[in-house]
Amino acid sequence: MDIRLALALAAGKAATAASRRLGLGAGSNFPGKVVLRLHPRATEKIASRLARGCVLVTGTNGKTTTSNLLAAMFRQAGLRPVHNRVGANLISGITAALAQASDLSGKPGGDIGLFEVDEATLPEAVRRLRPGLVIITNLFRDQLDRYGELETLAHKMDSALGEMESGSAVLLNADDPLVACLGASSAASLYYFGIECEEVGEGVLRHAADSKHCRECGSPLDFAVHFFGHMGKYSCPLCGTSRPRPHFIAERVGLKGTLGSTVTLTTPAWKTTLELNIPGLYNVHNLLAAAGGAYLLGLDEEMVRRGVEGYVTAFGRGERLPVEGRNIFLVLSKNPTGFNEVIRTVREEGSDLVVLAALNDRVADGRDVSWIWDVDFEELAPLPRVLVATGTRAWDMALRMKYAGLDPARLEVRENLRDALRTALSRTAEGETVYALTTYTATLELRRLLTRLGAAPGLWEER
């Protein structure tokens, strides 16, 4: 037995227990840091003993939902995934998950690693974990103060894929021109997923800011259809580069508002129609990413189907929680594309809504809140009976809504989240829903408040 590793793991487990007791909760990097300090190669030591290797899921939006869907499918297949917690997606978070799941000799208590990985961490994660499969969901502009420019990030991810071994696989979003072109120099086999159903798309681009240029030759791309953001069916009029033909396809999509969608899913071996209980077109991409990943790892149709249909919404990703005879529809809204899709979904719910919009500017949210001016709040503005703006940047959110056309008489500002929740509930009749659109740390805070009110299971009581 490696005594140094055993000591590091014992310390890590103690740190995890302590951080739970202290309520540091998800996203705490502390236990992983402890392990790495005592044994810098602990991550690869444990990971290399996972019988079925590692799967990494990265991208701007959809990491959590995709990996949770995939975990549900794994469980249906009788696999025991070692899975990192929501938000703990740096090397330290992955290490903490591995340490927690293994015994002191470093033997993991699961058979497959399933890790969501911060985009900027992908190169290090590939080097340490030698994944058999990497899934990339999409790339949007998110937190420029943290990640830097998108082109630079895409370039780093491309080099990371270049370090993958032959025999491994990469699953990419064909509908995202920034993602579909990655991995050209990789020894791994490339696979793609995409939406073929054009009825759910739009002919015109909503935002000039979402237009994209060909990565090969720099000329503006032509889009036959736009799904959302810069997702769509595209080709380059100059050099002929075009969207790769996807292997995993959403052939038909019927959107059902906040309830989810009905998706006809095609793989190279089978075709099935599924009820997806999480809303929005962006979650259809997450479904395709997870189903494609499951297929590539040898899971069959039945395991995918049962995984999807028994799926319990990931924490704060479109959860519906009962509170005092009312419902809270809680959905993480952290960047323009994600937020726009949430607004599109909420619009299906009619008007006269109670909306709680929480904008924080902590490090994990991004310190710069300028991005709210890129969100189509103009489409949300006609809907609220009342909108309660809250968070560290409550006033910025309120101002954005005023300039989006919301009557200031319908605006309430409560910097404190608890006050905001009280106000929103007091304006909601029994049986009605509060639509809570919250940035990352605000989602965690609101979830914690709701747990205290007995409305939601605590983070650590979850699977």
Binding site: L150, S211, G218, D396, K402
Partner: protein
């Protein structure tokens, strides 16, 4: 204000749009609409000709390196000259971050790329090895818009002004043009350059109204704009200033100590 029309030219909206800069155009449009001023926004991009007499107010936002290079090339045509002519003839202009850099004389990036500017501003920018990132407060010294400006900066370029233009203001918290001489932004006639995102204009309504007034004066005889109810704008400004002071103010280290 019946019959009054403001003609805005939004330059390269699909290329120069880093993080919410379009909020500035939204603010200009709304603040005019609330006063009954009609607004026409034209969006001009690569290859589109620019008629210097057709617009009263120009806007150009920030962009990423690749986009900035495309725009630099396009501006080096007669378009750059047309833009300079419009400003010489009294048009108002707001440029943010990457746009501001391209309207100066030159931009030498950290990787050694030389981007010639159109020389509207007597300013030169050199890329630095670190980025200036964070909340900013600036004491604006622009006549008619004196007060504190709040915003968020995120740039590696260090800009130095020559004698041909004045700074927009003095940095109170943050880095500003270059992190050394305490200046932020620049002013030449009715043209402004600044590193402030946020978006800038919604939380700084004085500056928004200054731009609208200068732009309208090009064709209308106006003393001032009718006032608006800016209660919410002022509250947002105060809140942002408070956060900036907490983050970057003199008591920062004490507060950090207390938070431990």
């Amino acid at each position: 204000m019946k019959g009054v029309i403001l003609r805005i030219c939004h330059l390269y909206p699909e290329l120069m749009n880093i993080y919410g800069d379009r909020g500035n155009v939204i603010a200009l449009e709304r603040r005019c609409a609330w006063r009954g001023i009609r607004v026409e926004v034209s969006r001009l991009s690569i290859g589109d000709p620019l008629d210097p007499t057709s617009f009263d107010l120009f806007f150009i936002g920030g962009g990423q390196d690749r986009e900035q290079m495309l725009v630099c090339e396009d501006l080096s045509s007669e378009k750059g000259a047309a833009l300079r002519q419009a400003v010489e003839e009294g048009a108002a202009l707001l440029s943010i971050c990457g746009g501001y850099q391209l309207l100066g004389k030159s931009f030498l990036t950290w990787t050694g790329e030389y981007l010639p500017g159109i020389g509207l501003f007597d300013a030169e920018t050199v890329g630095g090895d670190t980025r200036f990132i964070g909340n900013v407060a600036v004491r604006c010294t622009l006549e008619g818009a004196e007060g504190i400006l709040v915003g968020f900066e995120n740039h590696s370029g260090r800009t130095r002004l020559g004698p041909g233009c004045r700074p927009l203001g003095k940095v109170v918290y943050g880095h500003g043009n270059n992190g050394v001489d305490n200046t932020e932004g620049c002013v030449y006639r009715h043209a402004l350059g600044t590193y402030l995102h946020g978006s800038l204009l919604p939380k700084n309504p004085l500056l928004a109204d200054w731009l609208i007034l200068q732009a309208l004066r090009r064709r209308y005889d106006l003393e001032a704009l009718p006032p608006l109810d800016d209660t919410l704008e002022e509250a947002a400004h105060r809140a942002a200033l408070r956060l900036t002071r907490e983050e970057r103010g003199p008591l920062r280290s004490l507060r950090r100590l207390a938070a431990r």
